[in-house]
Every structure is written in structure tokens, then in C-alpha cells.
């Protein structure tokens, strides 16, 4: 069996982590969830993740800063930005600064799984994004 993908998920809304963690765990990822960007940054400095999923708009530290920190520490890490306030300029800024992908809320856990699967392929560690049972927690209900 391939090694587990190490994923850090950061969103200041607790519901996001609560919904997405089981969905990603089901496809064989090891997921650490954070609501506080400072704690997430602290963890990022101590551990190298394969994929970081971060909200853009948060108090104190925004997702773009997280992106910059992650890529400074580990350029191979794929950073996926999520936001409920998607706009073209923000999306372009994130991509320019090295984000791997950008998703607007609301999205379903399945949407995120597909992006994670794409990132995993780019990392050379393909995973099967179809494993999850849609009836289970983390199924198709939207993450706001």
C-alpha cells in the first residue's frame, strides 16, 4: 500500500474541518485539522505536509500568508486555497504566489476529494478519490 498523504486542513469555521476530515480520511489521507492559523503555522514549521488546504479569509493571518509560509518551508507541498469570497483578482494572486488550486465555497467533500486526488497524482502518490461512500458523513452535502 502506498504511503498515507499527510494533509493539513485549516479553516476558522469548525464545520469545515468536521465535514471534510472524514471524507479525506476515507480515501486514505492522514488529516490534521486546525481552526487557528497561528497553531497551524506552528505545526507547519514542525512538520512537512504533502498537501495544505487553507481558507483565504481568516482573522489575524490570511490564507495567502499561510501559502507563502508553506512554500518557503516546502516548495513541493501542494497548497489548495478555499474561500467563500472568490474573486478573480484573489484567485490570480493565489495562483501567482504558487497555489496549486483554488476552490470557491460552497463545495461538496467530493469536489475537494477530486482536487486532492489531482494534487496526489502531481506529487507522484496517486489515490483513489472514488472510495468514499456518499451516504456516510463527509458525503455530498455542501461545505459552506
Amino acid at each position: 500500500m502506498a504511503e498515507q498523504l499527510e494533509i493539513l486542513l485549516l479553516d476558522d469555521e469548525p464545520i469545515v474541518g468536521k465535514r471534510l476530515k472524514p471524507a479525506l480520511t476515507k480515501i486514505g489521507c492522514n488529516v490534521e485539522v486546525f481552526e487557528d492559523p497561528r497553531q497551524a503555522l506552528d505545526r507547519i514549521h514542525r512538520k512537512t505536509f504533502d498537501i495544505v488546504v487553507t481558507d483565504i479569509r481568516m482573522d489575524e493571518i490570511d490564507g495567502i500568508e499561510i501559502l507563502e509560509h508553506v512554500l518557503r518551508k516546502s516548495p513541493r507541498t501542494k497548497v489548495i486555497m478555499i474561500t467563500g469570497y472568490a474573486m478573480m483578482e484573489v484567485a490570480r494572486e493565489a495562483m501567482e504566489k504558487g497555489a496549486y488550486d483554488f476552490i470557491s465555497k460552497p463545495f461538496t467533500p467530493d469536489d475537494l476529494r477530486k482536487v486532492i486526488a489531482k494534487a496526489a497524482r502531481a506529487l507522484g502518490s496517486p489515490i483513489d478519490s472514488e472510495t468514499a461512500d456518499p451516504a456516510e458523513p463527509g458525503g455530498p452535502a455542501e461545505t459552506q
Binding site: A86, M87, M88, R92, D101
Partner: protein, 274 residues
């Protein structure tokens, strides 16, 4: 890779640069040749589709209703092509209806004014004053056209990601610049921008399905939900809502339809005078 839309104050020049950029990128080039298929599909004269892209509605030309209808047909067909990716699109006013999509690189090519004036005045070389007046008139006309059709001023440089003036840059350099810019990270497709384009394409298809019966209709899509806006008198509200829900609901991608009926104040006022 990003999609490229190319607009120009000279359609032949815009087309020439678009073809060359597409060849250099290994993309398809889409121009007004798609209008023949659009005309066949909707059973309208192809010449009227060309006119809709060049002329504003007028009492002696295309009516406002037909103008909106023809542009809706063109928009639907163009968005379907843009969804296929690896495309350079010119001459179809795409820069006016794909705004806000980050992986669409919007380029404006400005012709050399002297050459453009010669083109407009059928090869004659007018004086400097005449050139200036001619170009100003043409710019005013295009501004009016784009504002009437899409509420966007196409002569405003902020509409574009890049404006290239061929007075000082030669066409080879322009093509090279376009090709290089498509490599910038900020213009690469992402899940969000691809979804935005898909939403626009779906909205345009639903609008085409409704526009014959509801000429003022506006449609927005978000995933499988569409919001349809039209005007009606109070007594027509229910019937119109039902028809719109039925027609929009026929698209397999559409799961939910919200209809917003706005009061038709002009018809209401007209009726009150009867």
C-alpha cells in the same frame, strides 16, 4: 493553459494576430466562421449575426429584441467552444461576457491609426484631421454598442489584461508577448475559474432556451442552480414562473430554478393610460 480572447479596433487585424498566436500556441482559433453554424442552428440569417456584432439596434436596422437574441446565440456558441480549452477566440465579443474568469487572458490589439483609417475609408489615405475625426467617431460608436449590448465599455483598457498598440510593436512581437503571457501562473486554469466558465456556459444555454418568449431575460448559474430574472405584470407572474421553471428544468444539469419576477413598470404605466 489559459484561454485567450483577442479583441481589436480592426477585425481583420485582430483575426490575423489571433491566427498567428493560436498557431504558435498549438491552439484552435475561433472567429466569426462559427456564425454560419449558429445561423443554421437557430434558423436566422448569418448576415444578421454579423450585423449584431457590428451595429447597435436601431429603428432602421436590427430591432432591440433581435439584437439581444442574436448576441445570446453567439454567446452560447462561443462559450461552448471556450469550454473545450486551448482556444484563441477573436471577433465574437467574448471579452465582454467572460469577464471575471481568471484563466481567460483578455487582450486588446490597437491598430496603427493611419492604417486603420485607410481600412475604414476603403484604402483612401485621408488627412490627419479626417483620420482623427473618423477614429473618434468609430470609438464612440463601439463604446455605445458595447454598453448597449453588455453594459461594458470595450474601449476602456481596464477591461483587458493586456493592451498592445501596433503603432510601436510589430505583429511578431505582439504574438510573442501573448504566447509568453499565457505561461504566467496567474492565468492558469483552476477549479474555481473552470467552474465560473461552466456556470456562464450553462446560463447562456438556459437564456437561449428562454429568450424567444422572454426577450429581457437574464440568467445566472451556480453549479446546478439557476436564477432567472424577467419582468412581468402582476397577473402574469404565476404563468411566467411556471413556464420558465419548465423550460429551464429541461436541462439535465439544472437541479433547481429560482425565478425572480421584476415589476414591468413601463407596461403597467401604459396600461393605466388605456
Amino acid at each position: 493553459m489559459p484561454v485567450v480572447t483577442l479583441s481589436s479596433d480592426s477585425h481583420p487585424l485582430g483575426r490575423e494576430i489571433a491566427v498567428r498566436a493560436a498557431t504558435a500556441l498549438g491552439y484552435d482559433c475561433v472567429d466569426r466562421e462559427i456564425l454560419s453554424a449558429v445561423a443554421d442552428r437557430h434558423d436566422v440569417p448569418e448576415t444578421d449575426l454579423h450585423k449584431a456584432l457590428e451595429e447597435s439596434p436601431s429603428p432602421f436596422g436590427i430591432s432591440s429584441k433581435n439584437h439581444a437574441r442574436y448576441l445570446a446565440y453567439i454567446e452560447e456558441a462561443t462559450l461552448a467552444v471556450l469550454l473545450k480549452d486551448h482556444v484563441v477566440c477573436s471577433g465574437l465579443a467574448a471579452h465582454l461576457y467572460v469577464r471575471g474568469i481568471s484563466h481567460v487572458l483578455k487582450i486588446r490589439i490597437l491598430a496603427d491609426p493611419q492604417k486603420l483609417a485607410g481600412e475604414i475609408s476603403s484604402g483612401r489615405t485621408p488627412s490627419f484631421e479626417k483620420v482623427s475625426a473618423l477614429l473618434k467617431r468609430r470609438e464612440r460608436f463601439r463604446r455605445r454598442w458595447s454598453l448597449a449590448a453588455y453594459r461594458v465599455d470595450e474601449t476602456d483598457p481596464s477591461v483587458y489584461d493586456m493592451v498592445i498598440s501596433l503603432t510601436r510593436i510589430d505583429p511578431d512581437e505582439a504574438v510573442q508577448t501573448i504566447v509568453e503571457t499565457t505561461g504566467y501562473r496567474k492565468f492558469q486554469p483552476m477549479t474555481y475559474s473552470l467552474k465560473c466558465l461552466k456556470d456562464k456556459a450553462l446560463a447562456s444555454r438556459v437564456r437561449v432556451a428562454l429568450i424567444d418568449r422572454f426577450p429581457d431575460v437574464r440568467v445566472q448559474a451556480d453549479g446546478s442552480s439557476v436564477v432567472v430574472q424577467t419582468k412581468a405584470l402582476e397577473r402574469e407572474k404565476q404563468k411566467k414562473t411556471e413556464v420558465i421553471k419548465k423550460l429551464a428544468g429541461e436541462f439535465p444539469e439544472v437541479a433547481a430554478v429560482e425565478v425572480q419576477i421584476l415589476p414591468d413598470i413601463f407596461r403597467k404605466a401604459a396600461e393605466s393610460f388605456r
